[in-house]
Symmetry: C2
C-alpha cells in the first residue's frame, strides 16, 4: 500500500507527521514524501523535512494525505499540485486532508456538495469551494476524509487505519504510539475556551473574523 504525503513550503509539521506515525505502521504500508521537487521543505515554523521524490513519480498512490499549513493559501491556484491531487484521487482508495489541506481538495474541485472540515479559522474559506462545512473533527464522505486543525490528523489516521486494516490493528497502533491523550486543559476547540483566547489565536494567525 503506497501512501503519499505531498509537501510544500510552510506546511505544518504535525499535520503530516501525525498521520504518518499511524499509517506507516499499517502492515505492508510504505509512506512516500513527495513534492514539486525532491528536496527538503521548510515547515511553517522552521524545521525542514525531506521529500524523496517528485509528485509525478507517484501518480497513483493508494492513500493520499494532504497536510495544511500557512503555505496552503498560496497554492490554491497551483495547477501542478491540484492536477496531481485530482489524478491521484481518480484511483486512490482514500484521499484525505488535515487542517487547511482541505482547501487544496476544495480548490481541486473535489468537495463540491460534500460535508467537510478544516482548521476552525479557515472554515469560511473552505465554504467558498462549495463544501458544506462543519466543525466535526473527522468527516468521512465516500473515499474522502477531511480532518480539523493540526493534531486532528492523528484521530483521522486511526479512523482510517481501522477502515483499512480493522480494529485490532488500529488499536495496536494506538497502543504503540501510546495515544492516551491527557492534555492539561480542555482548550482544543473554540467552543471550549474563553472568547479572548479565540481572539488571541485569530489575531496571531492574522485571519480576519
Amino acid at each position: 500500500m503506497d501512501i503519499a504525503i505531498p509537501l510544500y513550503d510552510r506546511f505544518t509539521a504535525l499535520d503530516a507527521i501525525g498521520p504518518y506515525e499511524v499509517l506507516s505502521r499499517l502492515p505492508g504500508a510504505q509512506v512516500h514524501w513527495i513534492g514539486h521537487e525532491a528536496r527538503p521543505y521548510a515547515t511553517d515554523r522552521g524545521l525542514r523535512v525531506v521529500a524523496d521524490a517528485t509528485l509525478e513519480e507517484l501518480p497513483h498512490p493508494d492513500v493520499v494525505v494532504v497536510p495544511g499549513g500557512t503555505g496552503t493559501v498560496s497554492l490554491l491556484e497551483d495547477e501542478r499540485l491540484l492536477d496531481w491531487i485530482r489524478t491521484a484521487h481518480e484511483t486512490s482508495q482514500w484521499t484525505t486532508s488535515v487542517c487547511t489541506g482541505s482547501l487544496l481538495l476544495g480548490a481541486a474541485g473535489m468537495l463540491e456538495g460534500l460535508r467537510a472540515t478544516s482548521h476552525f479559522l479557515y472554515l469560511d474559506r473552505l465554504a467558498t469551494f462549495g463544501a458544506q462545512v462543519t466543525d466535526q473533527r473527522v468527516i468521512e464522505q465516500g473515499r474522502i476524509i477531511t480532518a480539523a486543525g493540526v493534531s486532528s490528523g492523528i484521530d483521522m489516521a486511526l479512523h482510517l487505519a481501522s477502515r483499512i486494516a480493522g480494529e485490532t490493528i488500529a488499536q495496536a497502533i494506538q497502543l504503540v504510539i501510546e495515544y492516551d491523550p491527557a492534555p492539561p486543559f480542555d482548550a482544543g476547540h473554540p467552543a471550549k475556551v474563553d472568547p479572548e483566547i479565540v481572539e488571541l489565536v485569530r489575531r496571531r494567525a492574522r485571519v480576519p473574523a
Copy 2:
C-alpha cells in the same frame, strides 16, 4: 528562549514533532534541531528530518527535548551525546524527554532516585538507571520532565508551555493546534486494551516480556 531537540538516526518523528509543534509557538521561542552532524536524520520509519547544527554549536539551550525511537538503545554509551545532555542540563531551565528519550537521560546519570517514565515497553530498561519508574503520562521532577510513549510529548509540551508562559498562552497553543483529542478507540494504554493487543505490540517491537 532556545529550545534544543537533538536528533539521531532512527528517532521517532512524533516524539520530536509533537513537542515542537507546541513549544515553537511560545512567544520568543526558537527551536534548534541539532545532531552529531548538521545533516538529515532518518526516522525509524523512513522519513528524513534535517538537523541544522551540531550538538556543540548549542551547548546551553534553555529547554532540552530528547526524543525516543528505535535508535535510542544503540546510543546508551554514546559519550558525545550523553556529555552534551549533561552539560546542557547544568544550565537549562527544563530538560525533558519523550518515549525512550528518557533512557538517554538515565544513561547520562540524571534520573537516579527520581520518578520517571518512558514508552511502556521500556519501563524495565529505564529502571536499570536507578529511576523509580511509573506509567504516569507526564512526570515533573524538579527541572526534569519525562513523558510516556510517542504521542505523550504533546501533553508534556502543553504542560511545559503553561509552566513557561502561563495558562492563557498554553491554552491558546492548544487551541491553534486544535488538540481536542477524539480517538476512535480507548486503546492508548496497555491497561485499557485486550492483552492480546499488548502481546502483538510487544512481539512486533521485538521487546522481550
